[in-house]
Symmetry: C2
Subunit: 350 residues, 2 copies
């Protein structure tokens, strides 16, 4: 009988991913866009004229051109693929040899360590400071091939200081990945500065502000030298034709993005105040979600809330986010509803 001993050394304890059984709950656990499907992408899909039998463009040139126009960069600054998850995989695959260290901040996105280990690397945890900012010295001193950091950070919600990221780009002897999955919501971005640094890779996704998670589209932005390496490694035509064209349509019409960002900017402080009134301690956020310390036990809060039909994400068992939960910023109506259900849980737990 074949056992898990036959698997790659670094992956033998891997389990399947977060996959909650759903019964129509309100999903405030995935930080997707609560305003619903991207209208420009939907319009494209409603009038779909496409042939299915041929392969997509090998390197998604259409989408890369649209992005180049949006950001004032060149097509060849971009690597496009099947969600920013593929871009994470390609980044580690391109630059890590077996056993190479990769710096992962704590707390940050849970899947980074999975991608590092899956590609034969070793995650090196460097804790964020008490106010969830980068430990610049800790990262620069690490003997590592890659340093990755999400900004805005997930699950804490804050962006990192630009000068810290710049210092790491200069001092760290390896590739630096700045994952801007929630970049549309933040004031600061490294995206347009990719030609300034030889080791900077910025990642973006269509799954959050763009409201297109169902279509799996993401991209990396980097200098021409590095993008050539990454495009040589990525699986040819990994982005399907419909998702590529829908993403092009969405890029060319920024109305919905502007509206979505404005909604979050307006509602986020109100949700934070509401949480504070209920005894939570919310952390400052530059993105479309809030991390908050629970006034009662985190697992009770999350499970009782699920019974009431609202899903939020539990980070209470993880180091540095003890007893914390993370929730998406909704519309005024959704937030009021969520706060009402939370207050019911608190009442019932007294």
């Amino acid at each position: 009988m074949i056992t898990r001993d036959i698997m790659r050394d670094t992956t033998r304890d891997f389990q399947k991913y977060y996959n909650p059984k759903l019964r129509g709950e309100l999903r405030m656990d995935t930080n997707t866009n609560v305003l619903g499907s991207n209208p420009a992408a939907m319009k494209y899909l409603k009038h779909l004229e496409i042939e299915l039998d041929g392969y997509p463009n090998t390197y998604s040139d259409g989408l890369r051109q649209a992005l180049a126009e949006l950001y004032g960069l060149e097509t060849e600054n971009f690597v496009a693929g099947n969600g920013s998850d593929e871009m994470l995989d390609v980044s580690f695959k391109t630059f890590t040899n077996w056993g190479d260290n990769c710096v992962v901040p704590v707390p940050s996105y849970t899947l980074y360590e999975y991608f590092v280990s899956m590609n034969g690397g070793k995650p090196v945890q460097v804790d964020l400071t008490d106010d969830f900012q980068l430990d610049v010295d800790g990262i620069c001193k690490a003997d590592a091939k890659i340093a990755i950091m999400p900004s805005p950070n997930n699950p804490t919600g804050n962006t990192f200081k630009q000068k810290d990221i710049e210092e790491i780009l200069t001092r760290f002897k390896g590739m630096v990945i700045v994952d801007e999955a929630y970049g549309e919501y933040a004031k600061n971005s490294m995206l347009k500065r990719v030609n300034e640094f030889e080791n900077l890779i910025v990642l973006r996704t269509f799954s959050k502000a763009y409201a297109m998670a169902a279509l799996r589209v993401g991209y990396a932005v980097t200098n021409l030298n590095v993008s050539d390496m990454m495009n040589s490694i990525k699986i040819p035509y990994s982005l399907n034709k419909i998702s590529e064209c829908a993403a092009m349509a969405a890029v060319k019409d920024q109305t919905f993005i502007t509206k979505s960002v404005r909604m979050v900017t307006n509602e986020r402080p109100k949700l934070a105040s509401g949480l504070e009134r209920l005894g939570f301690e919310p952390y400052p956020s530059d993105s479309n979600f809030i991390l908050a310390k629970c006034p009662i036990d985190h697992s009770v809060m999350v499970s009782k809330l699920k019974e009431k039909g609202v899903l939020i994400r539990d980070f209470g068992n993880k180091r540095r986010t003890e007893n914390c939960v993370r929730m998406t910023v909704g519309t005024e109506e959704l937030n009021d509803y969520m706060l009402k259900k939370i207050s019911e849980v608190l009442e019932e737990s007294k």
Copy 2:
């Protein structure tokens, strides 16, 4: 200045993939289905009702259930993903440690060595016999973690003998991947026998007979033990929702597949005869393409034919397929047109 020295050791010489500049040529170079887009998938897309903001099902359960019904297996026998290319990547990622040998037959699919090296493994070439069958002893004697074989084989077109594959499954001390990308066209398949062997992985794609290359859908079929390992390694929800639903529609209506296979079975011998009449030496095929030795220089044939608006694939510079070209089996009209253009090239080369 960062050079390719920063890349993974095994990938530094990687170049971008086959990506011909197109000017509306007839594509007989990719072995997709010449009957055009899958009608059941198109029907689904014409009446698309879908939300884009949420993530797809984490492990594509809908498609896996539909496949389980089609083949009389269990949902958990399947691993679904973004084209069979992702399934190749996942297979090597799941089972290879750094430097592990992987057996790749010669000649076979050009991308296998790319996937092996990309994942830190070492391709070990084992030549096929003179009649393009498996060298069973050569493969079983190889000190390797994985043996991969396409059946029908690409680019030669023939299936391998079932008893040879069975013998390898029993004697080879590692995982055996049988890539049935063209399996719908062949009489023999290992797909329904995955529960008999502890080390068998069968790969299938929607890009060939299913005429859905644009949507990037593929799957692996294997026993429950191995599928659990592979699903733990694959990127969660890597298959987008539209492609998954279109593939489900296509699986549930096999009319088009039957028609497509019948067309190829009817036209393939006629195309082979036509090629023979023009001085080619075609090899026996169980799939929707033919490999043939050219009566003139292969590169002249391919480039002149491209000038005349017909693309075929050049294998003439590769070992074991010297001076050979590969072309898709078209409809009667397409084949006649292609043969006419080929005869013009031959005339002009006299």
